[in-house]
Symmetry: C2
């Protein structure tokens, strides 16, 4: 499933890109007046291979939840149980992601890819468990390559299911106490950046924990220095949710359905997806810029510019959800707005 998905991913279509740019310039607005949103619409046209691109509605958020062996190193002030407690909160509709999804009209699916407990079946919960949390990446590989493939394929399968159910935009979400540590390690490895430059305070750690966290990321990179392929790097340093999100991104791209990336966890996962299939970046929109320093490094490597920059540091898909109306607005312009000719508006003399 992984190989077939990667084979189906195509880079942006040059003709659709050119058509979309030309269409933008005929619309009743000064050229370039929509700033970054014009480029978003053009990029989605390239990814969809048609201009205007289809409206990216309805959207589906998938929150991939998993636990992390590295939690034992004391990198987070939150107990590991919070992962499963927050899964219950998502399923009950009580989390911020639920409120944001309701606001923008997105569906919410929670996927257990590796929570360290058996979760009771529930509506809105997909069980795709690869393990009961990863191994401690600071001591060696977080997972085997076979587990990484299993998690990747879980993500592909979730993307396929949501698209078959009608989704025309996928939004990445995550839940996993300690997952900013794994994200920092992935970003450091895939971009060749020093651990200190990509390791942040997550959902709130003090100075001494931050120093510890950087040291743990360094140890993880040392302990896994043998990992040299995209898959082995992902397996060595990632969480199950990182691997699943990478698969989710690949699955969207293969189906030409755009994927809005949330924050630093999605950015780290997208680096893995990009390493497996570089064209995948053409199908991604960076939803927001997280307060985590590694996120900007990841986005720069992917060549993506975030749409929302409001100092969010929550995860769950919240930043991706907030970006969805902006992405829709960008595409709607190409469908609804009149051209100078059609509207009888005088063009600016050039």
């Amino acid at each position: 499933m992984l190989e077939e998905t990667i084979a189906a991913i195509r880079p942006a279509d040059a003709r659709a890109l050119a058509e979309a740019r030309s269409h933008q310039d005929r619309l009743t607005k000064p050229p370039g007046a929509l700033g970054v949103l014009e480029e978003v619409a053009v990029r989605l046209a390239g990814a969809a291979r048609t201009s205007p691109p289809p409206m990216p509605e309805p959207a589906a958020l998938a929150i991939f939840a998993a636990d992390h062996g590295v939690h034992a190193q004391g990198v987070s002030p939150w107990p590991q149980e919070v992962t499963q407690q927050m899964v219950a909160n998502f399923l009950a509709g009580g989390a911020v992601a639920n409120a944001f999804a309701a606001q923008v009209g997105a569906s919410v699916t929670v996927v257990d890819v590796g929570v360290a407990a058996d979760l009771p079946p529930a509506s809105g919960l997909m069980i795709k468990k690869v393990g009961y949390g990863t191994a401690d990446l600071s001591l060696g590989p977080a997972m085997t390559e076979a587990q990484a493939v299993q998690a990747l394929e879980a993500g592909i399968s979730v993307a396929r299911t949501l698209i078959a159910d009608g989704a025309r935009c996928l939004i990445t979400g995550d839940m996993g106490i300690a997952n900013t540590t794994a994200s920092a390690a992935l970003i450091a490895a895939f971009t060749g950046t020093d651990a200190a430059a990509v390791t942040g305070r997550g959902t709130g750690v003090d100075d001494s924990t931050h120093t510890l966290k950087i040291a743990v990321v360094r140890r993880a990179l040392d302990a896994n220095a043998a990992a040299s392929t995209p898959l082995s790097t992902l397996a060595a340093l990632g969480g199950f949710e990182h691997a699943a999100i990478a698969g989710f991104i690949l699955g969207g791209a293969a189906a030409r359905v755009p994927v809005i990336l949330d924050g630093v966890i999605a950015g780290a996962a997208a680096l893995a997806a990009h390493a497996l299939s570089p064209s995948v970046a053409d199908h991604c929109v960076a939803g927001h810029r997280s307060a985590e320093p590694g996120h900007a490094v990841a986005l720069a490597h992917l060549g993506l510019r975030p749409l929302v920059d409001l100092e969010l540091r929550l995860g769950e898909g919240t930043g991706g959800l907030l970006a969805h109306p902006l992405v829709c607005a960008a595409v709607r312009v190409m469908h609804d707005v009149a051209t100078f000719d059609a509207a009888g508006v005088t063009e600016k003399p050039s």
Copy 2:
């Protein structure tokens, strides 16, 4: 009507602000994890004098259209007729503002407060004409104080009508070829900033026109140096749409309905409203940061931080419309999200 409106505007309620902050900290998310959006929700609670504040839906966009005598100075490459052509485009649903409004579910009302032509009656068009364009502000006052009051009261009246029709959020919009020149003059005067620092390229002028535009703003400030009160400054340097938008903001604030400001024209108008009634800023949300340099100066003076920063330079209310889902999401969190206690989620040990 103006005096009574100003008298009704109250500053943020300290108790509602404190309640909203305390409520934010009990929700199932790390404290502060929603960044700027937490402060938006808290500010709206203060303005509404209750926590949580009412949902700012439905939203109503009012696009105030007018022409400008200063157009004769060659400050814009666009012919003046484009103002009325774009009004027709708004009414036909073909402009970017219409597409964005459709995306976010906002109504669109166009208000003629001073277009230099008689417009045919149309559904969605309110005629509140104060004149056929302003006088040239580079030669003397753009309008009389009586005209400024008339335009302010037109804006108040539009706010009252839209709120009576059910709007729970007002969004400012504007259309007026050459109105970034008047905006720069207003911002320079109300903030005491040099013309060169606040005069930008509007919807696209070349270097020589930009230099001319700065010189025109300087001449306008010199020619109107006698203006010393808020009202006389607005009359001397503003456009009819600036005065009407200032009234619209005052009208929203008086009714405790939040106002999302669009770009630099709204920022300039908000400075006038703020000079007339300083508490008005508590009721405003800065929708976006325009590419115009004067906008950041205006927002800093008002103490507002923009939500969207995507290099838009279109006007029409487009930046305000894009911010609306973000503002709704911020408030919805306070209504929908579970507390740690209620959700059974363990709090971070402090």
